[in-house]
Symmetry: C2
Subunit: 522 residues, 2 copies
C-alpha cells in the first residue's frame, strides 16, 4: 500500500506545464488590491491550462513570487501580463519587462492542514511550514480558513500553540534591546475607554524598567491605544526608531502595525474576522508571539470579564488565565493574568482626544478614579512580577511615581521622543465643537452603562479618525441621578456626524437604570 | 442573559454608514475576474469605512447585488466606481451611471455556520439560507470553506444531506419532462476511458425509457463524458433545448455545465478543490441533487473500487452504497449502487476521440470487452430497477438491443438531434497524427495499468482540448507479453505535446509487470 501511494504521488507531481515556458511582457495596471494579482490574456492562459482564480508562480530576474490570476480578453493582449500595483513594487517591474509564468506546485502544507482536519496534532515543522506558506501567499484564504476552522473544532495542543507562537515571531522582525528585564502587558479587549497602557508605560519606565509597548488601532471600537496615543505624538516607527526611543526613555507607546512584527498574525486575523473565529490556541499564540517579538520576559494579561465582553464569566476567565500561564512558561515568559471587571467603560472619555484627557489627568494626580485605580494595580503587579519591588508594595510604589510627578515627566519624555509636544496640556487637546448632552428622563440609580453602545456612538460621531469625536460619560454605575441630570455628552467634529450618532442612540439603550419590577405575570 | 444578548444584537445592528449615502459614477474596467469586483477611490472609501477586500451591496435602479471592494488611488477618482466586466453585465451598467454603495449586513448564515462548527445540526431553513447566500455571493470563500471544513470534521446528518440536496435543486433550474419513469446514472469517477454513459443512454432510450443524462467535463482527467460526446455532436444546450431532444429521442448526453442546473454545486466544488475535501454528505447531496434536478426517480450509482481511485476497498464502497440508498429513499429516488473494479482503465482508448471509437465499436457489436460488459451490466440493472424488465433478464435485454443495432440507431438519432452527423463512422474520427508506441522491454504478464498515469499522459498529449490526443492501450491486465510487444500508443495533434508526454512518461511507471520477487532481506 505504501508503495502504491508513493507511485501515485509521483504521478501527481509531473506537471507538463513546467516543461513549457510561458513568458509575457509586463503591462502595469494602477489598482491596489491588497493581493498579488496578475491579469493574463484569457485565450493564451487557457492554452497553458491556467484559469481565473488560479495561483501561479511568476519569475523575474532570478526571483519568484506567487500571484493570483485574473483573465481578460481585451486589457491584455497575447504575450502580455497585466501587473497590479501591489505586485509592481516587487523587484520594480517596469512596462515591457519579461516575466515567466509557472504553474505552482501544490503547497506542502496542504497535507498538514488535512492532518489537522483528521484530528491529528502538528509538529513544529508542520506549523512552521503552514506559516511560511501563508506568508508566501502560497496558501489561499480557502486553505487558511480550513486550518483555522479545524483549530477551532479540534483544538490545539500546547505544543501546537508554542510552535505557532514561535513561527509567528519568526514571520517578522524582532526587537533586540539587549537589556533586561523587559516587561509587557496586553488586554483581551472589549472595554470602552480602557486606556491603562498610556498610564502604565510611563510608571514602569519611570521605575527604571524597560517596557517597549506596541499597541493596535481600532478595528470596530471607538479607539485603539495607538489611535489615542496618536493625538499626542507619532505612533508609526520602524524597528530601529523604536529601539532608539526605548533605549533612551525605557518605554514607548507605538503602533504595532507600523513595524514588521509578527505579520502572519494580520493575515490570520483577516481570515478569522468574518466568522469571528477565536480558537483559543490561536489567540494565545498571537498575543504571546507578539510579546516574544519585542523580547518580553514578564507579561501581564488583563482579562476583562462581564456582560458584553469576550469572556462572559469569571470561571472562564480563570481557565483562560491558566492556559496563558502554562504556555507562557514554555515560551520562557513569566505571566500574570488579572481577571478584571469589564462590564462597564473605564475612564470618562471614549474616543481618542477625550481618552487622552483622562490619561493626562490621571498622571497629573487627578482624573477618573477607575482608570487611576486599575492602572496602579496593573503597574504595581508588573513591578512585583519582575522582582523590581517586593510583593505587596507594587501598588504604593506605582502610586508614588504618579504622585511625585515622575510618571508624568516620563510620559512627556516619551511624547517628545515620539515627535509630539512634551509640554502638552489637557486644554491643548481639541475635542469636537458639535456636542449634545443626554440627560436622564427618570430618577434612580444607574444599573449598567453599555460598552458596545458607547463605543458605537463614539464611532458614529467620527472616532477614531476624527480625534476629537467621542463620548464623555458624566455618571457611573451605581450613581444616583435625578431626572434631568446629565448622563453623557456626545462630541463630534461635524454637525452631520453628530446627527447620525444621535439618530443611532434613539434605537439603543446606552444606560440602563435599576428597576425593581422586572416583570409581572397574571 | 437572554435580554442582554438581544440588546447586544441590537447594538451590532445599527450601522451608521447605512444612514449616509455613498453614490458614485460608473467607470467600466475591462477585466474578467470571475467575481463581482468594484474599485473605489481609496481615500473616499476610507471615509466611508470601506477597505480592500470588504463586501458591499451596490444598488442601481431598484436592484441590488453584492460586490467585493478593491481600492485605487489613481484609476478611479473620488466620486467614481470602477466596475469590472463580470459586474458590468449586471443591469447593463454604462459609463457615468450612478450607483449607490451600501455597507453589507452580516450574512444571516454566519450564525448557522458557527452552529455547525460547534457540532450542531442544521435544519432545512438553515441549510437553505447558507445555499442562498452562497449563490448571492454574500458568503465569501472564507466562510464557505469554514462550513465545508466543519462538514468534513463533524459530518452531516441524513437530514442535512437531504436539505442540502433539496437546496441544491432549488439553486438552479429543473428539467420537467412530464414523463415517467425517468432513469439516471452516475459514476463516482477516477477510472480512465470509462465511457459507459455513451453506451448505456442509447440502450435505455432504445428500450423506451427516458434517460436525460447530463455529464461533466474533465477537471484533471484526460476527458469527461461531455468532452468525449463533443467529438460527435454539440453538448451545450439550455433547458428547453434539452427537453425537446429528450422528448423526441428519450435520451440525451449533454454537458451539465451548459444548463443552470444545481449551480451552487460548482461554487462548493471550487472551494472543496484546493484541499480535495469530499465530505461524504456533500458528495451525496451534490450527486443526488443533480439527479433530482432532472427529475430522476431511478438512479444507478457506479462506485469503482481499487488502487488509485477514490474508494480504496470494497467494504468502504459498501458503506457508501448504503448511505446513497438511505438518503436517496428519503428524496423519493430508488437507487441501486454497484461496486465495480476500478483499478484499471476501462476500454482501450483514453482521450475524447479514441474513447468515441470504443463507444461506437461497442454499439456496433465489437469493441473492447470490458467496456461492453460493464455497460451491459449497468444498462440491464437500470432496466430492472425501474421494472421495465424482470429481474435477471436486464443484461440479455440490453445485449439484444445492442446486437439488433437498435441501440446504435438510437445513438445516431441522439447525435443528429444534438447537431452532429448521425452517419458518423469510426473512420471519420480524427486522431492525432503524431504518435509513439511504447513496447515492453521484458517478457512477462501485465500486473497493473495505472489510471492516473494513463490519464495524465493523454492530458499532456493535449486531451481533452485536442480531441485527437490520447492513449490507446493495446494490452490489458493479466495479458502475457513478450519483449518488444506493443503496450500502448500515445496520440497527439502536435509534435511538441507528444514530446512533452514522452518526457513525462520517462518519470512514470504506466504499466507494471508481475514480479515474483518483491524484496530480499539479508
Amino acid at each position: 500500500m505504501v508503495e502504491y501511494v508513493e507511485k501515485e504521488a509521483k504521478a501527481e507531481k509531473v506537471d507538463v506545464w513546467k516543461i513549457k515556458k510561458y513568458v509575457c511582457k509586463v503591462k502595469p495596471i494602477d489598482i491596489y488590491t491588497g493581493k498579488n494579482i496578475i491579469v493574463l490574456n484569457k485565450v493564451e492562459a487557457q492554452e497553458h491550462d491556467i484559469y481565473s482564480g488560479y495561483r501561479t508562480e511568476i519569475r523575474h530576474d532570478g526571483k519568484s513570487i506567487i500571484a493570483i490570476v485574473d483573465v481578460s480578453e481585451e486589457i491584455v493582449e497575447s504575450g502580455e501580463i497585466g501587473v497590479f500595483r501591489d505586485l509592481a513594487g516587487w523587484h520594480k517591474l517596469k512596462k515591457g519587462e519579461l516575466i515567466e509564468v509557472v504553474h505552482m506546485d501544490q503547497p506542502e502544507s496542504v497535507k498538514f492542514i488535512k492532518k489537522k482536519l483528521d484530528k491529528g496534532s502538528l509538529n513544529s515543522y508542520e506549523i512552521q511550514t503552514i506559516v511560511k506558506e501563508i506568508m508566501q501567499d502560497r496558501l489561499s484564504e480557502i486553505e487558511t480558513s480550513a486550518w483555522i476552522t479545524a483549530a477551532y473544532i479540534n483544538g490545539f495542543t500546547d505544543e501546537e500553540v508554542i510552535a505557532l507562537a514561535e513561527a509567528t515571531v519568526d514571520s517578522g522582525e524582532q526587537l533586540n534591546l539587549g537589556k533586561k528585564p523587559i516587561l509587557d502587558k496586553h488586554c483581551i479587549g472589549g472595554v470602552a475607554g480602557n486606556r491603562t497602557t498610556m498610564v502604565i508605560v510611563p510608571i514602569i519606565a519611570a521605575a527604571g524598567v524597560y517596557i517597549p509597548k506596541t499597541s493596535s488601532r481600532s478595528i470596530t471600537s471607538a479607539s485603539g491605544t495607538a489611535d489615542t496615543m496618536e493625538v499626542l505624538s507619532d505612533v508609526i516607527f520602524n524597528m530601529d526608531e523604536m529601539r532608539s526611543i526605548v533605549l533612551k526613555a525605557k518605554g514607548a507607546v507605538v503602533w504595532g502595525g507600523g513595524m514588521k512584527l509578527a505579520p502572519v498574525d494580520d493575515k490570520l486575523i483577516r481570515v478569522r474576522h468574518p466568522l469571528s473565529l477565536d480558537p483559543e490556541g490561536m489567540l494565545l499564540a498571537s498575543i504571546l508571539g507578539k510579546k516574544k517579538s519585542v523580547g518580553a520576559e514578564f507579561v501581564l494579561i488583563d482579562i476583562p470579564v462581564g456582560r458584553g465582553v469576550k469572556v462572559p464569566y469569571v470561571e472562564r476567565g480563570n481557565e483562560l488565565a491558566k492556559h496563558f500561564l502554562r504556555v507562557g512558561a514554555k515560551l520562557n515568559m513569566k505571566i500574570e493574568a488579572l481577571i478584571t471587571d469589564g462590564a462597564e467603560p473605564v475612564g470618562n472619555g471614549v474616543g481618542p482626544g477625550l481618552e487622552c484627557i483622562d490619561v493626562l489627568e490621571v498622571l497629573e494626580g487627578r482624573g477618573p478614579d477607575d482608570l487611576r485605580h486599575k492602572s496602579l494595580i496593573m503597574a504595581g503587579k508588573l513591578l512585583e512580577l519582575c522582582n523590581k519591588v517586593e510583593v505587596g508594595r507594587g501598588y504604593s510604589v506605582a502610586e508614588g511615581l504618579v504622585n511625585s510627578g515622575k510618571a508624568l515627566a516620563k510620559f512627556r519624555e516619551i511624547i517628545g521622543l515620539q515627535g509630539g509636544n512634551p509640554k502638552v496640556k489637557t486644554s491643548d487637546i481639541q475635542v469636537g465643537q458639535y456636542t449634545h448632552t443626554i440627560t436622564s428622563d427618570v430618577s434612580g440609580s444607574i444599573f449598567h452603562i453599555d460598552n458596545k453602545v458607547m463605543s458605537k456612538t463614539a464611532r458614529i460621531a467620527g472616532a477614531p479618525r476624527d480625534k476629537g469625536a467621542g463620548v464623555l460619560i458624566h455618571r457611573m454605575r451605581g450613581d444616583r441621578v435625578e431626572k434631568g441630570d446629565k448622563l453623557f455628552t456626545v462630541f463630534s467634529e461635524s454637525e452631520a456626524k453628530l446627527d447620525f450618532a444621535l439618530k443611532a442612540l434613539k434605537e439603543l439603550e446606552p444606560i440602563e437604570m435599576r428597576k425593581m419590577l422586572l416583570g409581572s405575570i397574571q
